[in-house]
């Protein structure tokens, strides 16, 4: 479980995050949603430790990140997997090389065992016949899968995903969402996904934290999001015509429920 308590962040005197508190639960897909520029990426970077919040505390299973020694932080980082928006695969490494990278750096496995583990992870994300290909030779969806395989290679306790669906077609987006959800439940990982894709919100949003202009405006899940009274959340969720239609449909449903 990861907890953020009253996290605030400034850049050049400008406040970006305002006292954000949220809990991200183990074995669940936790989503951070919000408009572009709302501060969700900054918040996620604070959670991972790539940025230091000026105020507030981040706790990893009760361990205060700020108070950890460099050695403890290094040890913690081996428990973290990260899927970047642009996949961040190493250009000069093949698919297999990318997945083996964390194993080469941190595991005490023999080369054969590393290979076996890497092949297992590649297979787990549904990739076939791609071991010897370079990132530039595979599609965006495949790159995401490789990045997920790399992120889970060391059996992480915490998995962070920064906009995993960006640049993908709707079908591939759903497949990636399902894969992340499956992996989270299968290995009991604390997964935090940063997204503004409503399909992800509805599909895998077991816990949702909505950030608006640096404030945490709402916390809930995919079941309660349509009943929220938060104006900023509704403006965000029902921005598209499709979801406005869904809203009308749901309002009729709610009215019918109330009448009954």
């Amino acid at each position: 479980m990861i907890e953020a308590k009253n996290v605030s962040k400034w850049f050049d005197g400008q406040r970006i995050l305002y006292d954000i508190s949220a809990t991200f639960e183990t074995g669940k897909t936790n989503l951070i949603i919000g408009q572009s520029g709302s501060g969700k990426t900054v918040f996620m970077k604070c959670l991972i430790g790539l940025l230091s919040p000026e105020e507030g505390t981040i706790l990893y299973d009760g361990r205060i990140f700020r108070e950890m020694s460099q050695q403890q932080k290094r040890a913690l980082r081996t428990e973290i997997g990260m899927l970047f928006q642009g996949s961040a695969l190493f250009d000069n490494e093949t698919v297999l090389g990318n997945v083996m990278f964390p194993l080469r750096m941190f595991s005490r496995m023999s080369h054969e065992e590393q290979l076996e583990r890497a092949h297992f992870c590649i297979k787990r994300v549904g990739l076939t016949n791609a071991d010897e290909k370079y990132p530039s030779e595979i599609s965006g969806g495949m790159q995401k899968r490789v990045a997920i395989a790399r992120a889970i290679a060391l059996n992480p306790k915490y998995l962070f995903c920064d906009e995993p669906n960006s640049g993908l077609d709707p079908r591939t987006s759903i497949l990636i969402d399902e894969l992340l959800s499956d992996i989270t439940h299968e290995y009991g990982i604390t997964t935090i996904i940063n997204t503004h894709d409503m399909n992800s919100v509805l599909g895998i949003g077991e816990k949702i934290v909505f950030i608006n202009k640096g404030h945490c405006d709402w916390i809930g899940n995919d079941k309660t999001i349509f009943r929220s009274k938060s104006q900023s959340l509704n403006d965000f969720v029902f921005a598209s015509k499709l979801f406005q239609e869904v809203k009308k449909f749901l309002e009729r449903e709610y009215e019918a429920e109330e009448n009954i």
Partner: protein, 248 residues
């Protein structure tokens, strides 16, 4: 301007303290070291051969044309060619050329890694990214550059020999006698020492500019240009200081 320069120098020093740490895994470090020696050093051999060969030939032609006094012995052409190559061309001029090739290569590679979040990915894993990426490049280039320097000296002299052999400007005997006359071995060491220092400047300055890139492809290109310009200026500055220290 002055404050910005001091600030940059401070940040460069802090960056270097990150770079010169014990590698996380020696086996991976040595694998990367071999790769960098091949990429930055061995791949520069053709460029060094071509440039040294032609510049050696040009220096010989110019010396032959300009040394016309009957008071100056005919072997002076070879001697002057050798001294120019050993003292300045194969170390300083070659380093300036390598700053363009190797420096821009390092800055753009690391800059691209930065803007595509590859460096963040390494940091997230708990690896010292500065050490992991930059140290093999700096050590690899510094280790291999004496080979390039000596090769440049040799190829420059061969270029001069071609002029003696295939033109009527001077005789081969005079040229060969010239390049053997009054030979001071220290000049070779002086050239190698200078080249090693310049190689460190090229690799570390380029890595610094690449590592701190912010933005996208445009900024990577700008960082690459800045890396070449800055390292060239620093090479010239270091050249003056080293010449004063080593030859006086």
């Amino acid at each position: 301007m002055i404050i910005s320069s001091i600030s940059s120098f401070g940040r460069y020093c802090l960056f270097m303290t990150q770079v010169f740490r014990t590698p996380d895994k020696w086996k991976v470090f040595f694998q990367k070291l071999i790769l960098e020696i091949s990429k930055l050093g061995v791949d520069s051999i053709p460029l060094v051969i071509i440039i040294s060969l032609f510049i050696g030939a040009v220096i010989t032609i110019q010396m032959t044309i300009n040394i016309v006094s009957p008071l100056i012995p005919s072997y002076s052409t070879g001697l002057a060619t050798r001294e120019i190559l050993l003292l300045e061309f194969s170390s300083s001029m070659m380093s300036l050329i390598l700053a363009g090739k190797v420096g821009s290569n390092i800055a753009s590679e690391i800059g691209t890694m930065r803007v595509t979040e590859q460096i963040d990915a390494i940091d997230i894993m708990g690896i010292n990214s500065a050490n992991f990426i930059v140290l093999p490049k700096v050590i690899g280039f510094v280790l291999f550059v004496p080979v390039l320097c000596v090769l440049s000296m040799f190829m420059g002299l061969i270029g001069g020999w071609f002029i003696a052999e295939f033109t009527t400007m001077l005789s081969v005997e005079n040229y060969v006698f010239g390049i053997q006359s009054f030979f001071n071995e220290w000049y070779v060491w002086y050239g190698i020492i200078k080249t090693v220092v310049f190689a460190y400047i090229i690799a570390s300055v380029a890595a610094y500019y690449g590592y701190y890139v912010k933005g996208g492809a445009l900024e990577v290109g700008q960082a690459s240009t800045k890396a070449v310009v800055s390292s060239s200026i620093l090479i010239l500055l270091a050249d003056v200081i080293l010449t004063k220290l080593l030859l006086q």
